[in-house]
Symmetry: C2
Subunit: 288 residues, 2 copies
């Protein structure tokens, strides 16, 4: 961990970041459960509104987290995890992490959410933000939308809201972080993007208070815009062909997460909780 | 490719290996279609016997292959690919391949089969054998059984038939290649094996005629034993709970192939045919 790990400001930041991620999680759970309550779409009468189930877990080596999982009528499966872990990177892995080359100690906290709606009209979404301290300290995160059948209004609203969050901090943030998302959420073997993008940022060092504020703004933007997008589409009926297309597209999500996703690799290589890490995988998938 | 690539015996071996993989493929297709015809299990009357559809493809850079795919009533999805490709490895990838460190040219031919039966009682199976020439030349391959609910008689018969094939060549083959399969077909993040094993072998250099004969014996063993195992179980009814368990277990197959499988990595990094490579993925999968 940081040579200055005992510096009061870094210790304070660890405490505050963890508290924020947990608070954001609680607000997201309430918002998503409200969507479940308000649902008036297909099979509304026969399906019960979903509720998150939270399960704590401990990590051998330091820390742990809480897995939140809901199976509902709007959300076929949505996982939201907050984990706060610390310890020592393996020598091989330490080489890939800024500030861990010579001192493999780390502390990391973050929130990670992946939603797979039941309706093929409601876009799946991913959001993750994190704070990491090694001999360096930084914030990172992002959010991206993964519609089955892209809707221009959704895409515009999603990007506009993230841009608004970015612009409050630095006019260079949005173009840079949008391009980073376009580069990151890409499947080379398919020659296609995973979804319609969003933002991706990492290694925001320096003015940590400001980067923390930006990270909170990203969380607020997500919590504001995504439920609006869900509400626009959740009650619309769909066809068997829509559903078949959805299940096939979900395969791309699996391919990205297992072949390329940095967070998945980070988690599996640092002895994270496999169940929590792979909670991102869709509930039902086809590869015809 | 080999400095001796023009040596008649190496050119002859390339020709003979390719011809063998194609012949084995044709025999497997006939045997699997006969299983489809003989099926008398659940929904027998309403499902048509499956037939393989073969589709050729070309590889930019040299060679190509034929994808064989069947959706049937015994086999929910079975893919069998024969590909014969040549060209130049990327510098990064060449480092990982014996004999390609200084001369990145290669020639490779192989057969790869993955079967996902409809019935949870019929074990999925994987079989792959290959011949590769760089500045070195070798044979490799293997087969492993992936039952949803392991059956002691199946496991014994499968291993015994592979042992018989091995023992005709070298008493050390079977214990070595069985141990290699146990080591290879393992998911560290789950702390569990992918299935019940089989054999895995690679880099068999030296007496290539003998290793080719062994590779043919592995193909014959697979073609002999797997249809027997299928026939034992294919007509038995199953419950919705059996099916749910099957779909969940198939997730482990996906995790292995995308996170760890050497053939998948080889294919995706050498500009192979993505559709052919990912034909191994199950038709329907759940991660609850």
């Amino acid at each position: 961990m940081s040579e200055h790990a005992n510096a009061p400001e870094l210790a304070q930041l660890r405490h505050a970041a963890k508290a924020w991620f947990e608070q954001l999680r609680d607000r997201i759970c309430r918002a998503f459960e409200a969507l479940e309550d308000g649902f008036a779409g297909p099979d509304q009468a026969t399906l019960a509104p979903g509720r998150f189930v939270l399960r704590p877990w401990s990590r051998e080596g330091g820390g742990g987290g809480v897995m939140g999982l809901m199976h509902g009528r709007v959300f076929e499966k949505v996982g939201v995890n907050v984990s706060t872990v610390w310890g020592t990177f393996s020598p091989e892995f330490a080489k890939q992490i800024p500030g861990a080359e010579h001192s493999p100690s780390f502390w990391a906290s973050g929130i990670s959410l992946v939603a797979h709606p039941r309706s093929p009209h409601v876009p799946p979404v991913h959001m993750n933000t994190r704070h990491i301290q090694t001999s360096k300290a930084w914030f990172g995160g992002g959010a991206d939308l993964n519609p089955i059948t892209p809707d221009a209004a959704d895409i515009e609203a999603f990007h506009a809201r993230l841009k608004h969050a970015c612009d409050g901090f630095d006019a260079a943030h949005y173009p840079r972080f949008k391009a980073w998302a376009d580069e990151y959420f890409f499947l080379p073997h398919r020659g296609e993007h995973r979804g319609v993008g969003g933002i991706f940022y990492d290694y925001l060092e320096g003015d940590l208070d400001r980067h923390f504020a930006f990270t909170r703004a990203v969380g607020e933007a997500f919590l504001d815009i995504y439920p609006q997008i869900v509400r626009r589409h959740m009650d619309r009926p769909w066809t068997a062909a829509d559903r078949a297309h959805q299940l096939e597209r979900r395969g791309r999500y699996v391919e990205f997460n297992l072949l390329y996703d940095r967070g998945t690799q980070f988690g599996l290589r640092t002895g994270g909780n496999t169940e929590a890490i792979l909670m991102s995988l869709p509930p039902v998938v086809t590869w015809s």
